[in-house]
Subunit: 341 residues, 4 copies
């Protein structure tokens, strides 16, 4: 038997750990051959392959990124894309695919399975916003990095009696903000799930200054003040005529400075959150996902995705897997509020 | 209302995060007063207290250890111990206790509740061997530290063509060995749950050398060769006449050297695994445990322990909580074996 | 004898280590009393003090920031500032001051000594741009943090076939860019000491892409393209009518994207470089600086600054200490160029 | 021109950074070819080579160990060893060698140069005990790792009111103990350069307990109590009839426990100190050493070793380089003593 494996979408620590587990279990447990496809769905469309033996995956467990490369290519948006995949798989005698990726990649995986190409999915989202799994690998690493940054920034803020706004990843879900904010001892946490009142943030900030400590505000990149993007950028439009997004950290730092008369700075953590060596937690989760994806292939159970439920790895239908965005529930936000101010 | 909080048993990163959450929620959400008792159950027996206000817990989230100190004192093993606790609590007008600790501490918490002293428990075991909760704080930090050590040791082993045996914590359960072994890319993982065959370990080791890589063996301190302690120390007895325990790492390194003719070294990670700043994961878990322990007190729900189930914090009866040791199930060990050799 | 100690200027990991060493040596070796002045020169002007005994410095070695707070106050720019200092010192019976700070703080220290107030200086600059000392504490920590970020960013850049521009601190000197660039394996390093040719940067970038690797460009915040600030911001002026500075990283990423047709991103590391726990190197250097500052006070050797020369701590006149900015010499830049592209 | 490069002796973070710099500068600046010899001097004796182009060194900067492998082989101790080297070099048309190693490797390098084989040395010793250079790469990494361990261990010791003895590397020189002890806030530092009084250590330990803190003792593996090895192991002899060495940490912990009546534990850090990714400091130093070694080859300046003096890389005769062991001078020990107790 020969299986193919590919990685799609944005970078996420743990991708290589999944690849290694798939290769290792495919070869050692089942005697299969494993072929890597390069650059997401572009690989099986254009026949970009990389042979994956034990030696190729020997030293990749600890490495960030993906040795297969990635892309955002969607075969359903390219002329004859699916037929090309069918041809390439036939030509390389591939019996099944393991596709590691986020909503888009898994969406394609579902349609391909429906169209007769057997695929097993492995979920990947740094934002932890896939509903069908308790956690996804990469998330713990992102939270770890943001928390380390908060640990570093706190002492500077204290020494200089400053408010500090730290913008972390999270366009639609505030998981990274919530968890790094809790772990880093943030005094305010702002997430996309709930528009924030600048007055309330200012109040918490002042309360903190009164206690003679420096306020640290963690804000997800997708968080919005009440009134939304119109308020954030005074309705400024981007090149496509949409109200401009982003920059909430810098905007908020300026608002706080103006309204409190205190020094205030913004730090945008950016890409550093999604690169580099995965945490031990993410290595274990990614490894187990890879092992169980091979089990699913072995069982001929296609159109499914592996998922974490408690401490177990289970399988869920790809159709359910991407049905809904998992956002931070209201009670988790309220739980955190005793730390504000 | 006034509540007391104490920490018992061995060190565990995250204890301070629990204390902080209890204090913060007690004061900010309920307007309670919080009194810390020092040095485990010795505190409420002898009236060793420490006032805990917001300032006292301001900078402790990131710190290892416990600001309350710890001990292994058991009031049920001391003459009039429980009566002393009753008196001290009355004297300080304490309405309820939050007790953070492992099997022993929680066992006392259960008996005290039965004896009319209201206690809520927070589980703490670096070994992750409590059956009633998916994970305990401290475990992720221990795995993180052991994994970092494995990352460092691997390159040296490779450069010197050596076998390396790394002994990690885990007297009765192999969770730290299993998770750090998976995360650190170990070539053999040995746990207390299953006696190991030295021949099999030697075979895996040689297979690895044949592939021109250095073998890394992770062994829990409580793992045993087939034949048990008698084999390990040739039946040598300790001062109490028991067969001597411990030292399996060094013993195994010598066995491997002798049987393979290859250089082989042992590293015993020791106490470094249970100290220092907690990982982000453990800070979040410990913080949530603390918050929910206060909820239980607020609800008058005593004799329970907070626990993690999936992503939820739930309450379980203390009687169930400590009923059974959670060991690594056979299927998790088999899952890991594709990485051996 | 009673001495005062203060910290001035921007944050820098190691300040607390200096304070601890001063207190510890003052008390343990000489039996002095040590008084901390808060918030830089504002402290001795306004009598803001903090008693510093052994307990106060017990746990600060590992902490970033400064327990004394800081400011940019200059007594020579405030009405009667120096007289106020004289009065406060007399009132608190302070015999001498240890002033920890950068160019500005040390400049004040020099003038105060000339004006009869005995001061010993301890140099502090995260940028390592003080000519009289081989290294200053804080610099190694900043390089360490920037290097960790480069390690993380590289794998993402590789996986996505992107150019990555990383902006690090360094307004006037490129030491952080040079050292973190060398340590992080940058493919181009741009510093304030030498205006860069965008054409050359693009050439190196393309050479790197041709070798199938992702180009990483490290740029100091003060680096300038040929033509200077006029080119950088098209001559755009700030509120004071000066050509706008800053933002070279984002600008360069956009130029590269446009000229190469490749994806290109900028990351600005910002304040995270100057906070948090110091590296072991910086803790040792800061500690030795503190110890030798006390020696200078003990010897009655004022108007000097402690400095590192090779492995020795020496004293240099404050007048010489701040005479010249230490920039990266041309040969160090040429040395690095074999790694470009 | 073709040059060879090899690594000898024990592991040391930064070896790969030197190799990379030699290859990169040899190829990019001079158009040379670079051949790696495997496993120390065994490589040029037995013709074990590895071609080193730009791709081979692309990803090694951050990796511990050495991609060339190492050994302790000495051609002057093997029948016809030097002639074999001469033949292999002739056969591979090697014009000069860069030898990276410690005292033994550099001693061979010196004799080979005397015997007409042109060699340039790069000093490597984790212990920092080579007299001719201010620092060697690997040392900063070892100190960093030991300091991180001390940071972790302190909080546990405090929580449990224990004395903690941490044994670090350093058979003949106490540099790692001194620097990690200073950086980690040790309360006693014991080095091979000065036999220690157990009474004095106990006194400092008790002083620390009286202040309500936990004592941390850092001891180099080669440190000895007054009376020497006879005292340490009661004159116990090893298999060769020599008084047994090693184990000073465990011995001291037991002595302290017995003499103070307090709990006391030993942690032996071991190999973890010499493996894994180098610190930024070591990467820069190792890289500069490699670049300057190529300069020496280019200048035809053989029989020399590169060395750090202040911030400059200089060349010193190999004959001087290994003449004397650089131990910790008395004044550096006295400097540290204000922190004891």
């Amino acid at each position: 038997m020969r299986i193919g494996v590919l990685t799609g979408g944005g970078d996420c620590p743990g991708l290589n750990a999944v690849i290694r587990a798939v290769v290792r279990k495919g070869i050692e447990a089942h005697g299969w051959e494993v072929v890597g496809f390069r650059n997401g769905w572009r690989g099986p469309m254009e026949g970009l392959t990389k042979q994956l033996g034990l030696d190729e995956v020997e030293e990749i467990l600890t490495r960030g990124g993906t040795i297969l490369g990635s892309s955002r290519t969607n075969p359903y948006k390219e002329e004859g894309g699916v037929d090309k995949i069918r041809e390439v798989l036939a030509q390389h005698k591939i019996d099944a695919l393991v596709a590691i990726g986020g909503e888009d990649t898994l969406g394609v995986a579902k349609r391909l399975t429906d169209d007769g190409i057997p695929v097993v999915g492995v979920p990947k989202t740094i934002d932890n916003d896939l509903g069908a799994t308790d956690y996804t690998f990469g998330f713990d690493t992102a939270v770890h990095i943001a928390t380390e940054a908060l640990d570093r920034l706190r002492t500077t803020a204290e020494s200089h009696h400053r408010a500090l706004v730290v913008e972390v990843m999270g366009r639609h879900a505030g998981w990274i903000a919530l968890h790094s904010g809790l772990a880093g001892g943030a005094n305010v946490i702002l997430v996309p799930e709930r528009q924030f009142s600048v007055e309330k943030v200012v109040e918490w900030t002042l309360k903190r200054f009164e206690r003679q400590y420096a306020p640290i505000i963690v804000v997800a990149e997708g968080a919005m003040p009440e009134g939304g993007a119109e308020v954030l950028h005074n309705g400024e439009k981007d090149a496509f005529g949409h109200v401009r997004l982003g920059g909430v950290g810098q905007w908020l730092a300026e608002e706080i400075a103006e309204r409190t008369g205190k020094e205030s700075r913004a730090v945008v953590l950016g890409h550093v959150q999604r690169g580099g060596t995965p945490t031990a937690y993410d290595r274990v989760l990614a490894t187990r996902f890879g092992l169980h994806a091979v089990d699913a292939v072995h069982d001929g159970d296609f159109g499914v995705m592996v998922a974490l439920r408690g401490t177990d790895i289970v399988r869920v239908k790809l159709s359910e897997a991407t049905a809904e965005l998992k956002t931070v529930p209201e009670e988790r936000l309220q739980e955190a509020e005793v730390f504000f101010g």
